[in-house]
């Protein structure tokens, strides 16, 4: 989607500060949700304290659903406009979704051990959830299977769209097949869900916290991916290398990350230098603090905005 306006929360001078605000909002909601879920909400009559895992397990699953929906939207947009920014959005969302799915399964295993007495069962929802994680893990890797990054991004977008078909399968698996999982409580065709009002409030608060925190993680990851993207011309690239020095607080070898750009990855072999280490230790504060300075000194490093 070509546009000259800076994308809210991603481009422009205030983007980093706005992202931080989203992060703090998520943290605040999360703190409120955990206090409500862990102490205000009553202990479940049947399951006891183990039921409180619901306040983490369900929001994690919800975040995964949302993230995969974002992959779907970004993938459709990528196929429509072929703008690499949509591919990066799909990648950031898929990474968030896979992480949230793994978290869901791990928390669910603990809850399952407490409530069912088994860590794992060959239950339709468990199997379909693991399959969902596998599909999007493959979707992430598919991006690099072609020497030509544009073709890789196209394959990833196709799988990003097709893979979403598994989300309703996961959600309705407890309805369609006999399962060890219980039926849905909230997204169920009943006007009064069979859940205590305070428990419901705690769950909704935790769902809101997960949504906002997920959005923050997505935006933060996307901003990092964007900052690793190379300008398209050699002249800009030189400006870029000056601008790159500013992100040193992240303690990263930028030379590796730079190979992430489509321009360079076309070489194929240079993409090999792309380590995975270039992302995680990079704190939001490091990027955010340096961003305004970078935008002043090297305006060319925000291309095609």
């Amino acid at each position: 989607m070509p546009t000259s306006q800076p994308t809210p929360l991603l481009g422009g001078r205030r983007a980093a500060a706005d992202r931080r605000t989203v992060g703090w909002a998520g943290a605040g909601l999360g703190a409120a949700g955990l206090v409500t879920g862990l102490s205000v909400a009553p202990t479940d009559a049947v399951q006891g304290p183990a039921q409180r895992l619901m306040y983490l397990h369900v929001p994690a699953a919800w975040t995964a659903y949302l993230a995969f929906f974002a992959v779907l939207v970004s993938s459709v947009a990528y196929l429509a406009w072929r703008d690499p920014r949509w591919d990066r959005a799909a990648r950031a969302a898929a990474e968030l979704g896979v992480g949230a799915t793994v978290l869901t399964v791990v928390l669910g295993a603990i809850w399952g051990r407490a409530a069912w007495d088994v860590w794992w069962a060959w239950d339709p929802r468990l199997v379909s959830t693991v399959a969902l994680a596998a599909v999007y893990l493959g979707q992430l890797a598919l991006r690099w299977t072609h020497g030509d990054p544009a073709r890789g991004a196209r394959s990833a977008a196709v799988l990003g769209i097709a893979g979403f078909a598994l989300v309703p399968v996961v959600h309705f698996s407890v309805v369609w097949w006999r399962s060890l999982h219980q039926q849905a409580t909230i997204l169920a065709p009943r006007t009064s869900p069979p859940i205590d009002a305070v428990m419901l409030a705690a769950l909704l608060l935790c769902l809101a916290a997960a949504t906002v925190t997920g959005a923050w993680l997505f935006l933060r990851r996307l901003a990092i991916l964007e900052s690793h993207t190379e300008p398209r011309t050699a002249g800009e690239a030189r400006t870029e290398s000056c601008g790159e020095a500013r992100t040193e607080p992240c303690g990263e070898a930028r030379a590796e990350a730079r190979a992430d750009s489509y321009a360079e990855a076309r070489g194929g072999s240079r993409a090999e230098a792309r380590g995975d280490s270039h992302t995680e230790p990079c704190t939001e504060a490091g990027v955010a603090g340096a961003a305004p300075a970078g935008e002043r000194s090297a305006p060319a490093r925000v291309p095609a905005r």
Binding site: A115, V118, A121, V127, G138, W144, T145, R178, D196
Partner: protein, 137 residues
Amino acid sequence: MTPRRARLLVAAVAVAAAALLVAAGMQGTLTFYRTPAEVLHDPAPAGQRVRLGGTVVPGSLRSEGGRTRFLLRDGAAEITVEQSASLPGTVREGQDAVVEGVLDAHGVFRSDTVMAKHGNEYRPAGPGEAADGGAAR
């Protein structure tokens, strides 16, 4: 990531996903358990492990000498289950459970794994009712 390594990773994920689905098929995922009526009217070949699910009949739970016996009911039929190990604390009378094992020649279901199945209702313990214990429904 080189294209070569990425293709290997995609292939590995695809093989793992296929293995998961094959294992799920062999484990009968799509019919996670059968009801007592189904197991009685259409028994599996002798010695074949099945999962049996139903409600633990209130008053039927007996524990002696490391063995536990109880009745599982689905409204149409009921089966006596003999569990070789002690029962997990999460299984209670009046609630649903899924057991894994084989139906013997005397119609007793010899199980070695018991899974408690809880409902979709969440509520605090009522007066005189302990949370996480003895919650009769």
